[in-house]
Amino acid sequence: MNQFDGLQRKTSVNMADSLESALRKIPARTPPSGLFERIRTSIDSEIQLRALRRRVWGFAAGLLGIVAVIFGFWNLLAQELAQSSFMEYLRIFWSDRDMVMANWNDAASSLLESLPVANLIIWLILSFFIIGFVWKALETWGKSHPHGIVRHLSV
C-alpha cells in the first residue's frame, strides 16, 4: 500500500462516516395509526375462516359417515323385509281387504310381528340422529355466523 492509498482510505472513511451521520438524520417513515389493529383484525378473520373450514369439513365428514351407515342399515332392513313374511302380509292387505277388515286385529298383529323390529329401530334411531345432527349444526352455524356463509368464504 503506497502513501496515496493510505490517504485515500482515510478520506474515504471520513466521507463515509460523515455521510452515514447525515443519513441517520433522515426522518423515519412512521406507520399509520391503527396498523397493528388492522393486522390483528386480518389475523382474527383468518382464524375464523380456518375454524369455519374445519367445521365445514367436519360436518361434511360426519354427514357422509352417517349417510353411509344409514344406507348400509337400509339395505340390511330391505333384505330382512324381503326375507320376512311382512311383504306377503302386506299383499294380503291389498288383495283381500274384506278378510283383513273382518279380522283386522289378528291381521294387524301378524303384520307387526313379521317386521324385522331390531333393524327397523336402529334405522329409525339413525335417521332421527342425522336429522338432529343437521339441525344442531345449522343452529350453531346461525348463532356464530349471523352474516352467512358467503361473506365468510369471501374473506
Binding site: 485515500q8 466521507m15 447525515a22 443519513l23 438524520k25 433522515i26 412512521t30 396498523l35 393486522i39
Partner: protein, 195 residues
C-alpha cells in the same frame, strides 16, 4: 410477560397462548419494517398493504420460527420477500431491479478529495423529500442495504441474512452506495465547492 421482554420470550409466550405477546412483538417491529419498505419500495407500491401482509405471513409461520434466530432479521426477510412477490405480481413494475446483482451502481466514485459534509448539507437530510430523492437515485438492492444498516441498525451479517447474500457482498454494496450518494451530493446544484 412484559413489553420489555426479548423477542424470543415474546414469541414463546405467544405460542403458549398469550395474545398480548403478539401485540408487544409486532408493535416493536412494525415501525422498522414499515420504514424499511417505505424507503425501499417503488412509490407505486402500497406500503401499508405490504407490511400488513408481511406480519400476517409471520403470524402464520411463527410456529416454525427457530428460537435461536434473530426475530428482527426474520421479519425483515419476510417483508422483503413479500415486497418482491408483490412486485412480481404487478408486472408493470420492474422487479428485476430489486433482485439484480451488485456492482451496477454506476462508476466507482473516487473519494480521495472529499472532506466531511458541511453542516448545511447535513441539515438537508432532515427533509424527507430531499432524503427520498437522494435514496431514490440508488438501485433498490443498494437502497435496501443503506436503509437497513443506517436507518434500522442492522449489522452487515444480519443484512446478509435478510438478502440471502454473503456479508462481504453486502459490505461492498454498502460502500458503493455511500460512494454513489457522495457523488450525487457533490453533483447537486448548489453543492459545488462544498466538498
Amino acid at each position: 410477560m412484559q413489553r420489555t421482554d426479548t423477542d424470543a420470550i415474546l414469541v414463546e409466550a405467544f405460542l403458549k397462548g398469550d395474545d398480548e405477546a403478539l401485540r408487544f412483538l409486532y408493535e416493536r417491529h412494525i415501525p422498522g419494517v414499515y420504514n424499511f419498505i417505505a424507503r425501499t419500495a417503488p412509490p407505486e407500491v402500497d406500503v401499508e398493504d405490504i407490511v400488513q401482509e408481511a406480519f400476517i405471513k409471520a403470524w402464520r409461520s411463527l410456529k416454525g420460527f427457530k428460537r435461536d434466530k434473530n426475530f428482527k432479521t426474520w421479519i425483515f426477510t419476510i417483508a422483503k420477500n413479500t415486497l418482491l412477490d408483490r412486485l412480481k405480481s404487478n408486472r408493470t413494475i420492474s422487479f428485476s431491479l430489486l433482485e439484480e446483482g451488485m456492482g451496477e451502481d454506476g462508476p466507482a466514485f473516487d473519494p480521495a478529495d472529499r472532506r466531511p459534509l458541511p453542516d448545511e448539507v447535513l441539515q438537508m437530510f432532515e427533509s424527507d423529500k430531499y432524503a427520498s430523492e437522494l435514496l431514490g437515485n440508488l438501485k433498490p438492492p443498494s437502497r435496501a442495504v443503506v436503509v437497513m444498516h443506517v436507518l434500522e441498525d442492522l449489522s452487515f451479517r444480519e443484512i446478509g441474512e435478510v438478502l440471502g447474500e454473503p456479508m462481504d457482498t453486502v459490505k461492498t454494496r454498502y460502500r458503493r452506495a455511500i460512494q454513489e450518494l457522495a457523488r450525487l451530493l457533490a453533483s447537486k446544484p448548489g453543492n459545488e465547492g462544498k466538498f
